[in-house]
């Protein structure tokens, strides 16, 4: 290289103007966009009756009250393993889908993809399709350009506002919060969150777009380690398409045309939201949104060639097709040992969580013996153990419980500050009570180092009871 000026260290983003496309995958993606956005926006407004003492919002993350409500399920902080389990399932699910269908998450369901898709749709409505947008981009700033830009940004900001606005409804009673938001009475954190999410949606969907996937997101890097030669990805059948070029109207010897099927119309490049050329092979920037498949199929129909010059395929298909062998059917790509193992693991965690969900009791007991000291001697020689009892009432009703103790020894039980052994625990609350368990002087429990005992908590209303085993520390002399 003879040029002595060093190359620029920094590169401006090359603007991308994806063209409109119609086809199977585009239609599927419209439906998926409607579904995912619908779930996101509507969920906080669903109601679920839990009785008079609990919120009636179907999905609610109550940070202040440390509760998570999901339809019939209520999760307390000590049951956080459910969240961990769900995250593990989400992770395994992504592994499963990636090994079977490649970057299907990136292409169809990732919020960055879905919102960018929505923003491009808005852009197209206001500024026109690819050619009109290109013209507008190169045009000097005049009234028309300014007007279109401002309207577009206003709509983007509105979408951003709705997005950020919907987010906060998951954390508080939605109708009440909306009312408070409108009358400027909501907590500051709600406004801050909405502002931040509005701006990130606006910038990520409107301006950063593919750069988030290429520069910011760790997922493409992780995914490349989970794809294998059987994973379905979007690919270009270069053995069929090359050498590319415009078709001659009448080839001299029609049966021995040297031209491939690709007519180099760049339809696949023009529709790509990532601004890449799929004909260069698998690459990091490709999110497998499959829009190039729709674009190419359309062109192939027009020039009278079979569809599928660009299509879903795997590396094994590629090798087989080049060799002229039969390719594997699609189910053989999806049902493999690897995907089955992922499915089994995923389902295993799911079954565990569901089992755990049904095995949960409505009364939750935790009993912590005081270790400092392990026992107290009373005047008459009685040996006393002190415990801190915590009862969690997971029901929607206020409950009264009777606390009793059983064991091989004759234990007596007393509640600090209470004359009886009944305690009242309000709905959805934790109740703490210090309890004393006494063993008479010279009894076996008082003398032995340790004795087993069982604490019973019985609901007065219906007699359901729950037990908790612990030990009694004696003098051991």
């Amino acid at each position: 290289m003879t040029d002595t000026t060093p190359p620029s260290l920094y590169k401006a983003r090359e603007p991308i103007f994806p063209r409109r496309v119609k086809g199977r995958f585009r239609t599927l993606k419209w439906w998926l966009m409607g579904l995912t956005l619908g779930i996101y926006y509507i969920t906080p407004w669903l109601r679920w009756d839990r009785g008079p003492h609990l919120p009636d919002q179907a999905v609610l993350i109550d940070l202040a009250g440390r509760r998570f409500f999901f339809f019939m399920i209520e999760i307390w902080p000590h049951e956080f393993y459910f969240v961990a389990g769900l995250l593990i399932m989400a992770g395994l699910g992504l592994f499963l889908f990636t090994s079977a269908l490649g970057r299907v998450w990136c292409g169809y369901a990732c919020p960055q993809t879905v919102w960018t898709d929505l923003f491009i749709l808005v852009e197209r409505w206001i500024e026109g399709d690819r050619n009109a947008r290109l013209r507008l981009f190169h045009q000097k700033l005049n009234r028309e350009k300014l007007a279109k830009r401002l309207v577009k940004w206003a709509v983007w900001l509105l979408i951003g506002l709705l997005t950020g606005g919907a987010w906060v409804f998951y954390f508080a009673d939605a109708p009440l919060l909306l009312d408070n938001l409108i009358y400027w009475q909501a907590p500051m954190v709600a406004y801050t969150t909405i502002t931040v999410l509005t701006l990130t949606t606006f910038f990520f969907g409107g301006f950063f777009r593919e750069q988030i996937c290429i520069y910011a997101c760790p997922w493409p890097r992780i995914q490349s380690a989970m794809l294998d030669e059987d994973s379905l990805t979007v690919g270009y059948r270069f053995w069929r398409g090359e050498p590319r070029g415009h078709k001659q109207k009448e080839p001299e010897i029609p049966t021995q045309s040297t031209q491939g099927d690709c007519i180099d119309c760049r339809a696949c490049v023009n529709v790509c939201p990532m601004g890449i050329d799929i004909r260069e092979g698998q690459q990091l920037a490709c999110i497998t949104c499959a829009l190039c498949i729709d674009a190419c199929d359309d062109v192939m129909d027009k020039v009278g060639q079979p569809r599928g010059l660009i299509g879903y395929m795997s590396l094994t298909d590629e090798a087989a097709e080049i060799a002229g062998a039969k390719t594997k059917p699609i189910w053989a790509h999806i049902f493999r040992v690897r995907t089955l193992i992922y499915t089994v693991l995923w389902a295993g965690v799911g079954v565990f969580l569901i089992t755990a969900l049904f095995l949960r009791s409505d009364i939750d007991i935790s009993l912590s013996p005081l270790r400092n000291p392990t026992y107290v001697t009373l005047k008459d020689g009685t040996i006393r153990n002190i415990y801190d009892l915590r009862l969690r009432n997971k029901l929607g009703d206020n409950m009264t419980y009777q606390i009793t103790v059983t064991g091989a020894q004759a234990f007596t039980l007393a509640l600090e500050g209470q004359a009886s052994d009944f305690v009242k625990v309000n709905a959805d609350e934790t109740f703490s009570q210090r309890i004393y368990i006494d063993a008479p002087a010279e009894s076996e429990a008082a003398r032995d180092e340790r004795s087993d005992l069982r604490l019973w908590v019985t609901a007065l209303s219906d007699g359901t009871r729950q037990s908790h085993d612990t030990v009694f520390n004696g003098k051991d002399d």
């Binding site: 290289m1 002595t4 190359p7 620029s8 260290l9 920094y10 590169k11 401006a12 983003r13 950063f208 750069q211 520069y215 005081l370 270790r371 400092n372 000291p373 107290v376 001697t377 009373l378 005047k379 008459d380 020689g381 006393r384 002190i386 600090e416 500050g417 210090r434 004393y436 002087a441």
Partner: protein, 292 residues
């Protein structure tokens, strides 16, 4: 000085010239927004260092024109909590001590407050778990035996004035004679009294010594501890018939106590602690299991 520039064949991008095991680094340009983000961070940092305490000077850092101070934040937080608790603290002082237990809000506040104050001021002697230290004669507050009384008023008085201290004339006061070191009783007589105490507290005893011990007890000890050894709370004289021994109930420990007359000292917590704090600790101690 221009280094020979190599170009990667496949991508036709210049390399940096660095090579690791034959793997070369492409000299791709950074995205420009990245650069702008970097500039923004510098501008933010400059602004931040002017607005907030940042540059270390001789005595303290530059204060920053926003006047932010984490020390002040803590002071404000404390003042805020004090203000928020002012009403309930006032109520704690106003109501009758025995009425606090009937008011769940007040009881809970006093218990929590008292636990914190106990850990700060009382745990040094009585232990974090309030079990006392027998070797040193710090009383166990979890049991139902009280030297100076175990109802809420007595506990409150003890905490307020302390025991056997010089600074509060109302402190509980009593002093047992050192029967051994002051030669009031001989060693054999002390051993006899010790065996009598073993007997009345329901422990093994030496039958040969108890009758002499009983006589000596009536003569020397009963004036404070009572004829039956049940103690006297007005004098802080322990009950000698129960299972609880301040310094331990073995023959050796009893003998040592009679010989040297061991007793403890407790400071007066008024005016070191405010009345609401003393009441809170009293409620906490009363609620440890032995309160009367």
């Amino acid at each position: 000085m221009t280094k020979p520039v190599k170009t990667d064949k496949k991508t036709e991008v210049e390399t940096t010239g660095h090579s690791w095991d034959g793997i070369e680094e492409l000299n791709n340009p950074l995205p420009r927004w990245w650069l702008y983000t970097f500039y923004l961070c510098i501008i933010f940092a400059l602004g931040y260092s002017v607005a907030y305490p940042a540059w270390p000077m001789l005595t303290r850092a530059t204060p920053g024109f926003l006047g932010d101070s984490t020390r002040q934040d803590v002071a404000d937080d404390i003042a805020r909590f004090d203000a928020a608790n002012a009403a309930i603290k006032a109520r704690l002082v106003e109501v009758d001590l025995t009425a606090i237990a009937q008011d769940p809000t007040l009881l809970q506040f006093a218990t929590n407050q008292g636990a914190a104050i106990f850990r700060t001021n009382c745990a040094q002697c009585h232990g974090l778990g309030a079990a006392g230290v027998q070797q040193s004669g710090y009383p166990n507050l979890l049991d139902d035996d009280w030297l100076w009384g175990g109802d809420i008023n007595a506990i409150h008085t003890t905490i307020t004035h302390g025991i056997r201290n010089q600074s509060d004339p109302d402190a509980g006061y009593s002093q047992m004679p050192s029967f051994g070191t002051d030669a009031l009783l001989s060693k054999i007589e002390i051993a006899a009294v010790a065996q009598h105490l073993r007997l009345i507290s329901g422990q093994d005893y030496d039958a040969a010594l108890v009758s002499q011990g009983a006589a000596l007890f009536a003569e020397n000890c009963a004036v404070c501890h009572g004829d039956a050894g049940l103690g006297n709370r007005d004098l802080g004289a322990p009950n000698l018939t129960d299972a609880i021994w301040l310094y331990g109930g073995s023959t050796k420990n009893i003998t040592a106590s009679i010989t040297k007359a061991r007793f403890g000292v407790m400071p007066n917590w008024s005016p070191r602690l405010s009345e609401d704090a003393i009441r809170a600790v009293a409620i906490y101690v009363h609620g440890l299991g032995g309160g009367e």
